[in-house]
Symmetry: C2
Subunit: 461 residues, 2 copies
């Protein structure tokens, strides 16, 4: 009497769910259907593999191979695509991409972990257009490696995480790089000051930057922008965002949420009985706003996959939601965020105050010390810390993670100042950036309370 | 009608209190009496100055000079020692160390910030004994610099933070170094596994190690141990601990606490009216146990000085206590702790479970990734995280600070796993060490609850 668990997708959430269900229930009958050749690999590692293929060969990105899964008694079928879910009969229809054979399998519990896909470029392209590539899967990376031979100039479309990480990777490969972003600045969801620092870093490394510009045509070895600029290039990398893969789910009657991704309960169940969903194809609850957000990130997918795996194996687990924490690196600069910005906090009925501070990352006399810039959001009524963006060349990840733990613990600005953090000159200034943030936010709250005026983006030296 | 604030001591707590009081109350009459020539310097930076005096000259350790204080209207008198406090008359008796003149000053509010001093070595020393130095003040460092000329071999007594940091500094200066520790291992308050890693690191860098050994004599260019070993040396650095400077306070009727340091309220007041105390001479409340602990650390002193300064200037502030967070570096290794160990937690009536985990500090395929080892304490009744020791060559400070914030927020093991931390391969593995810790602790709690047996130091791969 062992349940038959069928999992659609085997990269992050799917692979994690399969491995977790196996550990929890050695008797479970587990089938994973993965349309790609590769399973359980780090999508987030692709730019690092491309930048240094000898140091980080593709095999290092693979956490567990198909063989490992099979050795654990998981029926891992790669190049098998699920084309239809019949939820009434609890059957999936599968296409074996090797033989083109179509067949069905039944399930007791089904997990939809179909992930997200790169947005398609909708631009007129002539026959002489430069080749367009994208970077979402390990196969994309393989394709890129073969295409790169002979390429000297690369145009990247999109100034989000992937575009920026690939700009760095391409520079490290010795390519000339131009980056085109539709919005007036790169990473438009971040504070403008942060975006400007990223842009300065790109220019410092020789990346040509075109912001507020839209591609209208790809023609005769050129990218043509709406402002008339023609950029000669050997190749175009489209990094213009991702969207959740939901067609299979919706065809089976699975509801999407307001973000356009699949709506799930904290137990990762959907509205359809016996059908779970997890990873980049689902939306999450924002812990601070209690509203749905779509966070297609590897760590979220992994943790959701674990929750789905436990529950499908008969256990009890919940995914508590997210704070919207994210980080990326572009050359020497790290950029990260957690929690809410000013506009998001206002929209969620907080009374936010925003402050900016700059602090040394370590004792000033330590060589590795760099300036760390924090953009902070606090609720002036409760004093609760709501959000932080951090940018700098040192201690960005540390600071954001302390903030994420503080926000999770519902700490106030006063608490931030009171935190007993680890001080020694090689690791922190005597007043840590997080404590300094607490002091500044506390002052801002009192000032704002007195003046009853919102305080926005005041700077402190 | 401005208060006369008199502050005894001008290094960390005293200097911070003076600067804070000045900012809070521009009219206050502030007098600082500092027996040393230097003020407001980083004691914690001394080993780094000594190791690289050209990169970190002594001037860089000074946060604010006497002149800066005076320019702020603070009457900063250096080389003036307070010899007596008459709390009934609210008068201090001062010795001007330049002229030997003795005089008095009255106060409305007094701060005792006399700090701590190096323990004296009580060992028979012949006339031909190698010179003994210590490292507590900037003047000690100056003295050490002059003494070091011609020194090729240094014996360090004491395997605590200062002894270890100085072992590294001396190695960097090209000296032969031996370290002697009475206890069976260095840093005896840490987990034995952590101490063994530190010892291995010392040996890797050529430091000769003598543990479980007591110095019985200094004679004819040698340190003589109780096990009969004679270590030839040109100089001895005594780093055998510190003790609070409390003589001035006790003579004035100020009560000490059970730790031997001055007992203070969260407002930094003592039992004597109008007399405050802060910094290395006072004890703190441990936030988890509600018991007094003595934590002579620079960051604690600074924050206590700030609280004292605010209150002395007529404001309202409290020092909330400590978690016992501390960190130090020895060669490539960082070692840190926060919260309670197993014995401390049991003594404080918790029901602690202890676990050890090893995790990569970043995605395994990132060159900078190193193994991070965590020793964790959790309360099996409440699930609350109680403590963490961390050791490794990367992300130790980050991990301890996340843990410190989590413990401050009363987070449970389950919360640790749920934290939304920042993931990208250059910064963290997809399951962060703190999240992995949460998972392991959670499992340990359930297992222990089932078996009703304490679980100690189980390792996970």
């Amino acid at each position: 009497m062992s349940d038959r668990l069928v999992i659609v997708g085997g990269v992050a959430a799917g692979a994690k769910a399969a491995a977790t269900a196996r550990r929890r229930n050695p008797a479970a009958n587990i089938l994973v259907l993965q349309q790609e050749t590769d399973v359980s690999y780090s999508s987030c590692g692709l730019p690092y593999h491309l930048a240094a293929p000898e140091e980080i060969p593709r095999s290092r990105l693979v956490a567990r191979t198909s063989e490992t899964f099979r050795a654990d008694g998981i029926d891992m079928r790669t190049r098998h695509r699920v084309e239809e879910i019949d939820a009434k009969q609890a059957i999936v229809t599968i296409r074996d991409l090797n033989s083109a054979r179509r067949y069905t399998e039944s399930y007791d519990k089904l997990l939809i972990a179909t992930g997200a896909e790169a947005s398609r470029l909708k631009t007129a392209a002539s026959l002489t257009a430069p080749p367009i590539v994208q970077l979402r899967t390990l196969a994309d990376a393989d394709h890129l490696v073969t295409c790169l031979t002979g390429v000297r100039k690369l145009v990247i479309l999109g100034g989000g995480y992937i575009g920026l990480e690939m700009a760095e990777a391409a520079c490290k490969l010795g390519l000339d790089v131009a980056l085109v972003e539709m919005a007036p600045r790169v990473i438009p969801s971040f504070d403008e000051a942060v975006a400007r620092m990223v842009e300065a870093m790109l220019r410092k490394h020789g990346v040509e930057l075109f912001t507020g510009a839209r591609v209208v045509e790809l023609d005769r070895g050129h990218v043509v922008l709406d402002n008339g600029v023609r950029i000669q290039t050997d190749m175009v990398l489209a990094a213009t965002g991702v969207r959740p893969c939901t067609a299979l789910a919706t065809a089976a009657g699975v509801d999407l949420g307001s973000t356009g991704a699949i709506a799930v309960s904290p137990q990762m169940t959907t509205n359809v009985e016996h059908v779970y969903a997890a990873g980049d194809c689902v939306e999450s609850r924002h812990v601070l706003t209690d509203r749905p957000v779509w966070m297609p990130l590897g760590d979220v997918a992994n943790r959701q996959g674990r929750v789905a795996g436990i529950n499908m194996a008969g256990g009890h687990a919940s995914f508590p939601g997210v704070l919207g924490t994210a980080i990326f690196k572009v050359f020497e600069l790290a950029v990260a965020r957690t929690g809410l910005g000013l506009a998001e906090a206002s929209a969620a009925s907080f009374f936010p105050v925003r402050e900016t501070i700059r602090m040394p990352s370590r004792a000033r006399y330590i060589r590795e010390s760099k300036t760390l810039q924090l953009h902070l959001t606090v609720d002036q009524h409760s004093g609760r810390v709501l959000g932080c963006e951090a940018v700098g060349e040192d201690a960005v990840d540390k600071t954001i993670d302390i903030m994420a733990a503080a926000i999770w613990g519902k700490l106030t600005a006063a608490d931030l100042f009171d935190l007993d953090l680890a001080y020694a000159p090689p690791f922190s200034p005597v007043l840590a950036p997080v404590q300094a943030a607490g002091e500044v936010l506390n002052k801002a709250i009192s000032t704002t309370r007195l003046s009853a005026e919102p305080s926005v983006s005041r700077d402190t030296p």
